[in-house]
C-alpha cells in the first residue's frame, strides 16, 4: 500500500538532500570565518522562523514577541553554564524546556485572545521579558552575563557552533515538516481558516494552539542557548532585542507563511541582504527600509514572495502536505 511518489515531492526531497549534504561539507572547504558566521546566523534564524511558523503561519496566531523564547534559552544556558557548570548541550536542551514552560503558562492565558490581540499580548510579553532581564541584578543588568570562552583554537572555533546550529535547524525544520502532516497540523490549519468552525467540528482549539506554541518555544529556546554560547555573552540586547522579532516577521512574510520551505527562502534572502546592506548603509536606514518592506508586503503581498509565483502561474503552491492523498485514497482516479 505504498504510494507512488508524486514527482514534485521527489524533486523536493532530492533537492533537500543535496542541500543538506552541501551544508555538511561546507566548513571543510570554506574556512572563511566571516562566511561561517553568516551561515550560523542563517541556521539560527531558520530555527526561529520555522518554529515561529507553527503557531504563526499554520495556525494563524502571529506572534510579535517570539524573541522572548530565544532570550530565555540564552539566559538559561548562560546561568547553567557559569553557575552550575552544566555541560553545554544539556543547557541548550534545558533552555528549550524552560522556554517551553513559559510558553505553556503564557500561551494558556494569551491564546484565547483573537489574532491581533494575541499579537499585541506577545509584544507586551517580550517587552516585559526584556525589561525584567535588564532591570533585575541576578541577570547581570545591562551588562548581562559572560559565558565560558570556547576552548577551540581561533581558526576552528566556529565549526562546532556551525554544526550545532545546523543540527538544531535541521531538527526543527524536520519536526515542523512532520507535524504539518499529522492531525495536529491539519487542526492548526483549520484553526487558521476558521477557528469557530474548527471548534464546531470537534477540534480542541486551545489544546492545539498551546501545543504548537510550546513546541515553537522549545526549539527557539534551544537555539537561543546555542547562540549564547557562540557569542560568549548574554545581555538584554543580544537576547531580547525587538530586532529579532522584526527579522523573524520579515523573513516569515517574505518566504510565505504556513509552509516548510518558505522560512528557508525568507531567511536566506534577508540575511544576505542585511549583510550586504550593512556595508553600504547605516543600520537605522536599513531598518527604515525593512519597515517599508513590511508595510508594502502587508498591503499588497500578504502571501509572501511565493504568492507572486502563485498569481502569475495560477498554480496552488503548497508545502508538501497531503499531496499524496489522492494516490493513497483513490489510485483509480488518476
Amino acid at each position: 500500500m505504498i504510494a507512488k511518489d508524486s514527482d514534485p515531492l521527489k524533486h523536493w526531497a532530492l533537492l533537500a538532500f543535496i542541500l543538506f549534504l552541501g551544508l555538511l561539507l561546507f566548513p571543510i572547504f570554506i574556512r572563511d570565518r566571516y562566511l561561517l558566521h553568516v551561515m550560523i546566523i542563517i541556521f539560527v534564524y531558520i530555527t526561529l522562523v520555522e518554529s515561529w511558523n507553527l503557531p504563526g503561519g499554520y495556525a494563524g496566531y502571529i506572534s510579535f514577541g517570539h524573541v522572548l523564547f530565544f532570550g530565555i534559552g540564552g539566559y538559561t544556558t548562560a546561568m547553567l553554564l557559569t553557575f552550575w557548570k552544566v555541560p553545554a548541550i544539556a543547557t541548550y536542551f534545558l533552555g528549550g524546556i524552560f522556554s517551553a514552560l513559559v510558553a505553556l503558562v503564557f500561551g494558556y492565558i494569551s491564546l484565547r485572545l483573537r489574532g491581533p490581540y494575541f499579537a499585541i499580548a506577545t509584544l507586551a510579553m517580550a517587552t516585559i521579558g526584556r525589561y525584567i532581564f535588564l532591570n533585575f541584578d541576578i541577570f547581570g543588568g545591562a551588562e548581562g552575563l559572560l559565558l565560558p570562552v570556547s576552548p577551540w583554537a581561533l581558526e576552528f572555533e566556529k565549526i562546532p557552533y556551525y554544526y550545532g546550529a545546523l543540527s538544531i535547524a535541521t531538527l526543527t525544520t524536520f519536526t515542523i515538516y512532520v507535524i504539518a502532516k499529522t492531525r495536529l497540523g491539519i487542526g492548526l490549519m483549520a484553526i487558521r481558516e476558521n477557528e469557530e468552525k474548527a471548534e464546531g467540528l470537534g477540534i480542541n482549539t486551545t489544546r492545539h494552539k498551546v501545543i504548537a506554541f510550546i513546541i515553537s518555544a522549545f526549539f527557539s529556546g534551544m537555539i537561543g542557548g546555542l547562540f549564547a554560547s557562540y557569542l560568549e555573552y548574554v545581555n538584554p540586547d543580544s537576547c531580547f532585542s525587538i530586532l529579532y522579532s522584526v527579522n523573524i516577521l520579515l523573513m516569515a512574510i517574505l518566504g510565505g507563511l504556513g509552509t516548510v520551505t518558505g522560512p528557508v527562502i525568507g531567511v536566506s534572502i534577508i540575511v544576505v541582504a542585511s549583510e550586504i546592506l550593512s556595508f553600504t548603509v547605516g543600520h537605522q536606514v536599513r531598518l527604515v527600509l525593512y519597515g517599508f518592506i513590511l508595510v508594502i508586503f502587508a498591503i499588497f503581498l500578504p502571501g509572501g514572495l511565493l504568492s507572486i509565483k502563485e498569481r502569475i502561474h495560477g498554480i496552488k503552491q503548497r508545502g508538501f502536505i497531503l499531496r499524496e492523498s489522492k494516490e493513497m485514497a483513490a489510485p483509480h482516479l488518476k
Partner: protein
C-alpha cells in the same frame, strides 16, 4: 429520548432570546425546529452545541448534562452542527476539509497521520455521493455556494455523530439540490442518525420531519407531528402575524 432541553433561558441585554424552552427529541428521528425570524432557533442551536453559555435551565443528552461544555466537547459526545452561513476552510483542499472533523483530541491521536484509519476513503466515498470528488484537491474557496453547502453537510457526516444539527440546510440553493440534500438526510437517518433541523422551507420540514418544535419570540409555541402543527392556529398566526 435523546436530547433533552429543560427550561433553558438565554438573554441578551434585556431581551430573552430563548425563554424557558423545554422539549425532547426522539432517538433516531428527524426533528424540525421552525419559527419566524428572530424566534431564537439559531440561539438554541448555539446553546445546545456549547457556542453560547445558558443563563438558566439544563440540557441533557443520554443521561449526561451537556450545558456548559465547550463546543469541541459536545462534538466528542456525538453531537455536531452546521452553520447558517456556510463555514468551510477556504484555503484547504476539499479533501483536507473532510479530514478535519474529529471526536478525539488526545495527544496520541494528535500525532497520528490523518490519512490512516480509512478516513480518506470514507471522505472520498462521501464526496463521490455528492458529486464533489473531482474537486477533492481544489481549494474549498473555489466551490460554488451550493457546493460548499454540500461540503459542509458532508463534513458533519465525517465524525459518525449520533445527532446532527442542521441550520437551514436548504437556504439559498436550487430545488434539485435541495432534493438531493433531503434524500441524503433520509438515507443517513435510515441508518440511525438523528437529525435536528432548522428550516424555513415548509415543504422540506413537512416531508422530512417526524416531529416539529415551533418557537416564537424565544418561547416554545407548539410541538407535535407535522400534520398537527400544520393545523395549529397559533402557529399559522405567528407566521402570518410577523
Amino acid at each position: 429520548m435523546s436530547l433533552e432541553v429543560k427550561g433553558v433561558v438565554k438573554g441578551f441585554g434585556g431581551i430573552r432570546a430563548v425563554d424557558s424552552v423545554s422539549f425532547q427529541t426522539t432517538k433516531g428521528a428527524i426533528t424540525g425546529l421552525i419559527g419566524p425570524n428572530g424566534s431564537g432557533k439559531t440561539t438554541l442551536f448555539n446553546l445546545v452545541t456549547g457556542f453560547l453559555p445558558i443563563d438558566e435551565g439544563e440540557i441533557w443528552h443520554k443521561g449526561r448534562r451537556i450545558d456548559g461544555l465547550k463546543p469541541h466537547q459536545v462534538v466528542e459526545l456525538g453531537i455536531i452542527r452546521t452553520f447558517q452561513i456556510t463555514r468551510i476552510f477556504p484555503k484547504l483542499t476539499v479533501l483536507e476539509n473532510m479530514l478535519v472533523p474529529t471526536r478525539d483530541n488526545s495527544l496520541w491521536h494528535l500525532v497520528s497521520n490523518p490519512k490512516k484509519g480509512g478516513r480518506p476513503e470514507k471522505a472520498l466515498r462521501l464526496l463521490e455521493s455528492i458529486g464533489l470528488a473531482t474537486y477533492m484537491d481544489d481549494p474549498a474557496a473555489s466551490l460554488s455556494y451550493g457546493q460548499s453547502k454540500l461540503l459542509e453537510l458532508a463534513l458533519s457526516f465525517m465524525v459518525e455523530a449520533e445527532i446532527v444539527l442542521l441550520d437551514e440546510p436548504s437556504s439559498g440553493i436550487n430545488p434539485s439540490l435541495q432534493a438531493s440534500i433531503n434524500q441524503w438526510i433520509k438515507e443517513e437517518n435510515s441508518q440511525g442518525k438523528e437529525f435536528f433541523i432548522i428550516e424555513h422551507n415548509m415543504d422540506v420540514i413537512m416531508s422530512l420531519c417526524h416531529h416539529i418544535v415551533v418557537l416564537h419570540h424565544g418561547q416554545k409555541l407548539a410541538e407535535g407531528k407535522p400534520s398537527v402543527i400544520q393545523q395549529n392556529d397559533q402557529v399559522l398566526e405567528a407566521y402570518l402575524g410577523d
